[in-house]
């Protein structure tokens, strides 16, 4: 147990330091590569080592994305951007993850809102897909009847997504894409969405506080936040980075940075501090032999999280008057 803690500490220290040792040399160089490479990321400028404050982000977002974007990175993105829809390519694992995340989102939304319409179970709901990439998750959600807005800072990915959905008239009406950041959107669309989906995105952000705050802004009260991401454990290092990136090449090398992984407990604490209530956390597992995902009890590597934005807390002075609102209808509380 102590050795694990020590090891974790050691990883943390060694990754940051210039102290190179044989074990971590390849890791740290990859970590640096990860810091400069963005594959499916939310905000390009979040990749900076400097933590930008929220205000700074808002002011400088356009200049930041124009001045700090590395042309080499953009080229890498452009190369990747066309591969979104190659089902056997680099993004194959993301496509097969739809088998888990679409039912997860759909069933939780159905629990809250009920079936809207046969054939289009989620009709009438608005969903924001943060870090939509090529639209891998936006399209199935659109087919289920929701109005989806997919955002991604990488323009080429957005263009790929738009092209792919343009052939299907159903999707054209319901799924829209925008190349922008979450902060930009949060200004315009306050309380505009029934649900926000951030799948495989949180592990690419530096500023989770800003992210959580923006999500809180764009969600309606009682709205849902769905996150899938990777846990920060030794197991996730072994499987998520070493095995997945370097040995088995399930994802391109340098995609993930172990430092940016976050454990479900930390994420839950963070979200609760921003007015969310975490309703469910489930572990996910990828089987590289079959290429299929499955649910599991253990959240050590991948996990999915469903949080709900709390409705407004009543002011202390109004507790008596509003207590009936908080209860289920038809049940009066006797406070005397």
């Amino acid at each position: 147990m102590y050795s694990k803690k020590l090891a974790r500490l050691a990883f943390g220290v060694l990754a940051e330091s210039t102290f190179k040792c044989p074990l971590t040399r390849s890791v740290s160089s990859r970590v640096n590569a990860a810091r400069s490479l963005c594959s499916w990321t939310l905000c390009l400028h979040h990749r900076q080592k400097n933590q930008l404050s929220e205000g700074l982000t808002r002011l400088n977002v356009r200049t930041v994305s124009q001045t700090t974007v590395d042309p080499a990175e953009v080229r890498k993105f452009q190369a990747m951007a066309s591969k979104w829809w190659d089902l056997q390519g680099d993004f194959a694992a993301l496509h097969s993850m739809n088998d888990l995340r679409v039912p997860f989102i759909r069933d939780n939304l159905l629990n809250m809102h009920g079936i809207r319409q046969l054939g289009k179970p989620l009709a009438g709901l608005r969903i924001l897909d943060v870090g939509c990439g090529g639209g891998v998750l936006s399209e199935p959600l659109g087919r289920l009847g929701t109005d989806v807005l997919g955002i991604d800072p990488v323009e080429d990915s957005v263009r790929t997504a738009e092209l792919h959905s343009s052939y299907d008239p159903d999707l054209r009406e319901r799924v829209r894409y925008q190349a922008c950041t979450l902060e930009e959107l949060a200004e315009e669309e306050a309380e505009g969405f029934h649900a926000v989906v951030a799948s495989e995105v949180v592990e690419h952000l530096a500023d989770l506080d800003a992210f959580a705050s923006c999500c809180q802004q764009v969600l309606k009260p009682g709205g849902s936040l769905f996150i899938t991401t990777i846990n920060k454990t030794n197991l996730s290092y072994v499987f998520g980075i070493v095995a997945a990136e370097q040995l088995l090449r399930i994802v391109p090398s340098g995609t993930h940075d172990w430092e940016k992984f976050i454990s479900p407990e930390d994420l839950e604490r963070l979200l609760e501090s921003f007015g969310f209530y975490v309703e469910a956390i489930r572990g996910m597992m990828y089987n590289p032999l079959t290429g299929a995902w499955s649910w599991q009890q253990n959240t050590a590597i991948n996990y999915a999280l469903h949080a709900i934005k709390c409705k407004e807390e009543p002011q202390p002075g109004q507790v008596w008057a509003e207590s009936e609102n908080l209860d289920k209808p038809g049940r009066a509380t006797n406070y005397s």
Partner: protein, 476 residues
């Protein structure tokens, strides 16, 4: 269910699409040459012409597929189109005379078709060898469970058509529509190309679809154009079908099949006084049978069922010894030997023949394409399974597509189509192999094989659990 009102003729197993569809295969060869030069290859997708699912072929299985998809709640709102080259089959009331083409419908298929007006049921199935006295009977102890239903093909199609009319808001049917060309999409997204299957009709229109289902019979154009390799052979046999009038009314709920060296002859009950004949025999003999006048034909049938001329002494002695041995070991086994009814006459305008063969497509699916029914698998009628395999395909494919739609998937995606193919091949191949094996086993007079099958049949007859397994598998 007990109404014997209008039971129709049985053609065991093989679903033949209507005659006009066979004409399609002839016509298309002529038209294809014209069509491809006329068509503008760069036709763009217009909203009106993009369907979610197009089913090519409106026979029993194709129409059942359309109905099944139309009734599924998860597919509500999807645009479905059924293309049929023949006329619309409408029936306000069931006609007096029976037509020659029927199928035996297992309880599993009956569940799928439960909206239709099924009649005449089968309680016993009695099968025996012409070269010996070996006999096997399948029966349902509990008379509430039916083994199978004998229903006329036209009735099934008409009932399904009527059902389709109630679904006309999202299921469209186009009759008298021939397809001349299919254009397949790239398996992955290539820009500047249409990602859907393009179906070019004889009238020049082009339709697009996210999923094409081929239900166009054993000479399937969809299968051919998709380049799906097929394992097939002809049996050098033809089946003669006719409606028979029995010499006296009887409680007609037994199907009889006798294996002659030239092929099995079967009598399927339609009503108290009528049965359907399916006689599989060599091409030459089949033609002769068609030429015979009514009396000689009836005599031929009766003698086929009753005569013992194929028995050899050796086999008879061996057979009866074996039977004695079995009755010592298992005294209660073996049901009473019922006798088949004798035939007095045949119905009017009946007596047709059609060739028999076996065929199996090595793949049932391609990107955005699936084939079902006889297009995917074709069997000998001796076990009455052809229609049922097709209906099984319909049920499973509907289930797979329904689940895919509920998961927001693209309907033409390979992942769930592969699931359909795997499951159905696992079910169909053993059945087809068994039917082919039976056909070959019973096609000979050679003593060793006759002895083998005699002992096999008698032994199987004494093993109720084994028989139950066979019935359960065939009833699915």
């Amino acid at each position: 269910m007990l109404t014997f009102a209008k039971a129709k003729l049985a053609v065991l197993g093989i679903i033949r699409q209507c005659v006009a569809l066979r004409a399609l295969n002839g016509a298309q060869a002529v038209r294809r040459g014209f069509a491809s030069t006329e068509r503008d290859e760069k036709s763009s997708t217009s909203e009106n012409e993009l369907f979610d699912i197009i089913i090519s072929g409106g026979g029993m299985v194709g129409t059942a597929m359309a109905c099944s998809l139309g009734l599924d709640p998860n597919l509500a709102g999807k645009k479905i189109l059924l293309l049929e080259a023949g006329h619309k089959k409408e029936m306000d009331k069931v006609p007096e005379t029976y037509s020659t083409r029927v199928s035996s419908i297992s309880p599993g298929s009956a569940a799928l078709l439960s909206g239709t007006d099924l009649c005449s049921f089968l309680n016993f199935l009695s099968v025996w060898d012409a070269c010996s006295d070996a006999l096997i009977t399948f029966d349902k102890e509990n008379l509430q469970d039916k083994m199978a239903y004998i229903v006329e093909n036209d009735v099934i199609v008409a009932a399904l058509t009527k059902q389709l009319q109630t679904l006309s808001d999202h299921v469209e049917v186009q009759y008298r529509t021939k397809v001349v060309k299919y254009t397949w999409p790239h398996p992955y997204h290539v820009s500047e190309s249409i990602p859907w299957v393009q179906v070019t009709l004889a009238n020049g229109k082009t339709l697009h679809t996210k999923l094409l289902i081929g239900a166009d019979g054993p000479n399937s154009m969809v299968r051919r154009e998709a380049g799906i390799p097929t394992v097939k052979w002809n049996y050098n046999q033809s089946a003669v079908v006719a409606v028979l009038h029995l010499s006296e009314p009887t409680e007609n709920n037994v199907a009889w099949q006798r294996f002659l060296p030239t092929g099995p002859i079967a009598m399927l009950p339609l009503s108290d006084t009528e049965s359907s004949l399916v006689w599989s025999t060599s091409h030459q003999h089949a033609e002769e049978l068609l030429q015979l006048d009514e009396e000689s034909f009836v005599d031929a049938i009766n003698s086929a069922f009753w005569s013992n001329e194929n028995h050899s002494e050796l086999v008879e002695t061996a057979g009866s010894l074996f039977r004695t041995a079995l009755s010592v070991l298992m005294p209660d086994s073996g049901s009473a030997h019922q006798l088949p009814p004798s035939v007095a006459g045949i119905g009017p305008k009946s007596r047709v023949m059609f060739p028999l063969g076996m065929g199996h497509a090595t793949e049932y699916i391609r990107h955005r394409v699936a084939i079902i029914g006889d297009a995917a698998h074709r069997v000998h009628p001796l076990a009455g399974q052809g229609a049922n395999l097709g209906f099984g395909d319909v049920a499973y494919l509907t289930k797979v597509l329904s689940q895919a739609a509920f998961n927001g998937k693209d309907l033409g995606a390979m992942q769930h189509l592969l699931e359909f193919e795997t499951e159905r091949q696992r079910h169909n191949l053993p059945m087809m192999a068994a039917v082919d094996l039976m056909k070959r086993l019973y096609s000979t007079n050679a003593a060793p094989l006759v002895l083998l099958r005699t002992f096999g049949l008698q032994a199987t007859n004494t093993l109720p659990p084994f028989k139950e397994q066979i019935m359960a598998y065939a009833s699915k």
